[in-house]
């Protein structure tokens, strides 16, 4: 057991971090947030640098695992990046793992090259994962899928639907003729829409098992986003309280400030272990839904509490548009709800209390 990154993992982190610090300013993020699109330059870079290939099998893919993808996601989150990375890669991984090899062979190269962006379209009005009512009649679907992240820039959707009694995942092209968007505005300011399909041609990808995996892996990767937002808010706060002086000394010298920071750091540290442990476990071919729910629950609580304490310690400057903290507060809260809120995960854990555990 070792919680440190391996050398390769360190390299991945350093490489993406350097790029982001160098190339992406928060003012650029402000622009991206206001125009409702995604960061094409970043996406191009991710493709060219092989990051979009990371989790796929070689030779075309990077042969890395979810832990490495998690590292990438964490760094992107810490720079408030606007890119459908998790959405696209987990959908494509789902095709690779559960779909027809022919379909995978067609799709993955396009994903790797950056030409294809897929959004999972799983939720309906009743807001339940692992569940679908929209009927799949073999070749086409009709109906509305809700809360589809990055819908405006998606080239494809991976849609859950009901084929007779069976849950299936099906791939649809994002064709404005038969898939229309009703844009949503949420606290994250990231693009999101309800997508209404009307006789949209689709290809069946896989069944309920694939959906369960897709939800699970998105649960954990969205927990990594929570972690990244919390980590960033923590570090910004530590830097701020070291520099800001009141009453003749840095406010970071006050015990109340120190203890808030200590509590924030403790939450983040536990969150880091639990999320990466889940990713590692999935890389080992296992997935413990209760461990996932635990990590997710803690990550939701962490990002909510840590960003709020970050504001408390920043005071006025922290809530201004021109300061960068709000990216993490807003995105953090959206991610705290997405793919299972603190409440939803706790309900699941409550329902399954007392079942056998798989952790050390």
């Amino acid at each position: 057991m070792d919680t440190a990154l391996s050398e390769t993992q360190e390299l991945i982190r350093a490489s993406i971090r350097d790029y982001l610090r160098r190339e992406i300013t928060f003012d650029r993020i402000r622009e991206l947030e206001s125009n409702g699109g995604y960061d094409e330059a970043l996406w191009l870079h991710l493709g060219r640098s092989g990051f979009l290939a990371l989790p796929f099998a070689s030779p075309i893919g990077g042969g890395a695992g979810l832990v490495e993808l998690g590292i990438l996601v964490e760094e992107l989150t810490r720079r408030a990046s606007v890119a459908p990375l998790i959405e696209t890669l987990t959908c494509a991984m789902c095709v690779e793992r559960f779909g027809d090899p022919g379909l995978a062979g067609e799709i993955i190269p396009q994903v790797v090259s950056g030409g294809m962006r897929i959004s999972p379209a799983l939720l309906e009005r009743d807001d339940r994962y692992d569940h679908a009512m929209l009927p799949f009649d073999g070749g086409a679907i009709s109906g509305t899928k809700c809360f589809v992240d990055y819908a405006p820039s998606a080239t494809h959707y991976l849609v859950s639907a009901l084929d007779g009694g069976e849950l299936v995942l099906a791939l649809a092209e994002a064709n404005p003729d038969n898939a229309t968007l009703r844009m949503l505005d949420n606290i994250s300011r990231l693009p999101q829409a309800n997508v209404t399909f009307s006789r949209t041609p689709v290809r069946r990808v896989a069944g309920a098992e694939a959906l369960h995996w897709l939800v699970g892996v998105n649960r954990v990767l969205s927990a990594v986003q929570r972690l990244g937002a919390a980590q960033q808010a923590l570090e910004m706060t530590v830097d701020y309280v070291k520099a800001r002086e009141q009453f003749g000394q840095p406010i970071g010298a006050f015990q109340a400030v120190q203890h808030h920071c200590a509590n924030m750091a403790t939450m983040v540290e536990a969150c880091r272990f639990l999320t990466y442990e889940c990713l590692w476990q999935m890389d080992e071919g296992a997935m413990d839904d209760r461990l996932v729910a635990t990590a997710k629950n803690w990550a939701a609580r962490t990002v909510t509490e840590v960003t709020m304490l970050a504001h408390e310690l920043h005071g006025g400057i922290g809530v201004t548009e021109e300061y960068d903290l709000h990216f993490f507060t807003r995105r953090g809260k959206d991610r705290a709800v997405a793919w299972g809120s603190a409440d939803e995960t706790l309900r699941y854990l409550a329902d399954t209390v007392g079942q056998q555990n798989s952790w050390h």
Binding site: L123, D126, D127, C146, F147, L184, D185, N186, I187, S188, N194, E245, Q246, F247, I251, F254, A256, V257, A300, T304, M308, H311, E312, L313, H314, G315, G316, G318, V319, T320, E321, E322, H326, T329, R330, K333, D334, A336, V337, A338, S341, A342, D343, E344, L346, R347, A350
Partner: protein, 389 residues
């Protein structure tokens, strides 16, 4: 001990409730929402203000010599509580605390000049305390006011001057004696915001709420702009804060938000409301809301007895601001992906985006108006008598 309203208070409460129910129309709510981040008042809200003033409902608590009826502060509490319970965002802004300060410290001329406008809501004051390097540590402020004949000339910069762009005046703390110790050389002024030398620059927040920087560049005001004695501003400002506190914390509005959450679940998400675990969360929030109510009424009761709450106002401030955050956060969690939708999502946003809004605004309540950390130190030192370090 007595936990009931008197007959007179109860009758007044019914009057205000009746009035509030008439004022609280969808048209008013739409007008308030249209005011948006800028917080500008529209004609309906303006008319409500005038009507409240016409009925004498606010000034009834002031001493008879200032045109009041010397009623118990409970009447003011009831006025605000009933209006806010109905969703009417009635507030005099900062003028609500400056009125009593003028009554206590102002000259007869100042009272005649300022009080009627404050009561009718036509004179609105922004709070000019904070500066870039004087936040929690207010006494470090650097804005200067210098005597020039009978006048004062003001130079400096204020920050977080919320509402300056919709106010007529600023209630300004400025240094009048740079030689004196930090707390001792400050004076309070009422400065019109439309005069030459005043520049208001917007500062936008992610909470969807505008605040301002205000620059004072050789701003000249008459001698009667000084309220109270020169160099006694620290004491006057502290006293003004105490006055505001009968309705501190916004319990009525928080209770309304909680009820709206319940109503939303009942109407739109009955499947969630049926979940026992959701009900536990709602019950926890309700208990916490009751503690805010308890602290609010304890504090108000002390004020109503004519005493000064040593720590109870701070308790209300801490508890209410933390509850605001808990409520906003929990509501978003409970509502799943609908939770983070903002009002711009139209009818899909729960309760017209109220919970997203509550969540985004909750930090400000925690650090603003004296950060919760300062409030806890006040509770410990002023209330419990613990020593300063």
């Amino acid at each position: 001990m007595d936990f009931a309203w008197t007959d007179e208070q109860e009758a007044y409460r019914q009057d205000v409730r009746q009035f509030a129910s008439e004022v609280a129309t969808q048209a008013l709510f739409d007008e308030v929402r249209a005011g948006g981040a800028e917080g500008a008042r529209g004609p309906l809200m303006r008319r409500a203000h005038q009507e409240i003033d016409r009925r004498g409902w606010l000034r009834m608590c002031w001493p008879t010599e200032y045109g009041g009826e010397a009623k118990s502060p409970w009447f003011q509490y009831i006025l605000f509580a009933e209006l806010h319970s109905a969703g009417v965002p009635y507030s005099l802004g900062t003028a609500g605390m400056i009125g009593p300060a003028i009554m206590t410290f102002g000259t007869e001329d100042q009272k005649t000049k300022f009080l009627p406008g404050i009561w009718s809501g036509e004179m609105r004051c922004a709070l000019g305390y904070s500066e870039p390097n004087a936040g929690s540590d207010l006494a470090s402020l650097r804005t200067r006011a210098v005597r020039d004949g009978d006048d004062w000339v003001i130079n400096g910069q204020k920050l977080w001057t919320s509402g300056a762009h919709v106010s007529t005046h600023v209630w300004l703390a400025a240094r009048t004696n740079p030689e004196a110790p930090k707390h001792a050389g400050i004076s309070m002024f009422i400065v019109p915001l439309d005069g030459p030398g005043v520049t208001i620059r917007p500062v936008h927040t992610y909470a969807g709420w505008r605040t301002n920087e205000v620059f004072f560049d050789d701003v000249r005001v008459g001698g009667d702009a000084l309220i109270g004695k020169e160099d006694r501003g620290w004491y006057i400002a502290a006293n003004a804060l105490d006055h505001e506190r009968v309705s501190i914390g916004g319990y009525a509005e928080l209770a309304r938000s909680y009820e709206i959450l319940l109503a939303h679940l009942r109407e739109h998400r009955p499947e969630l409301l049926a979940e026992p675990q959701v009900r536990v969360r709602l019950a926890e929030l309700m208990v916490e809301l009751h503690t805010v109510r308890a602290l609010t009424l304890t504090n108000a009761s002390i004020i109503a007895r004519g005493e000064t709450p040593t720590m109870q106002a701070s308790m209300v401030k801490v508890a209410s601001s933390e509850f605001r955050y808990h409520l906003g956060s929990a509501a978003m969690d409970l509502l799943g992906r609908y939770g983070p939708l903002s009002s711009a999502s139209g009818e899909l946003a729960p309760a017209e985006g109220r919970f997203d809004n509550l969540y985004r605004r909750s930090p400000i309540l925690r650090f603003g108006g004296g950060a919760n950390e300062l409030q806890r130190s006040i509770i410990a030192q002023r209330g419990l008598g613990l020593p300063r370090q």
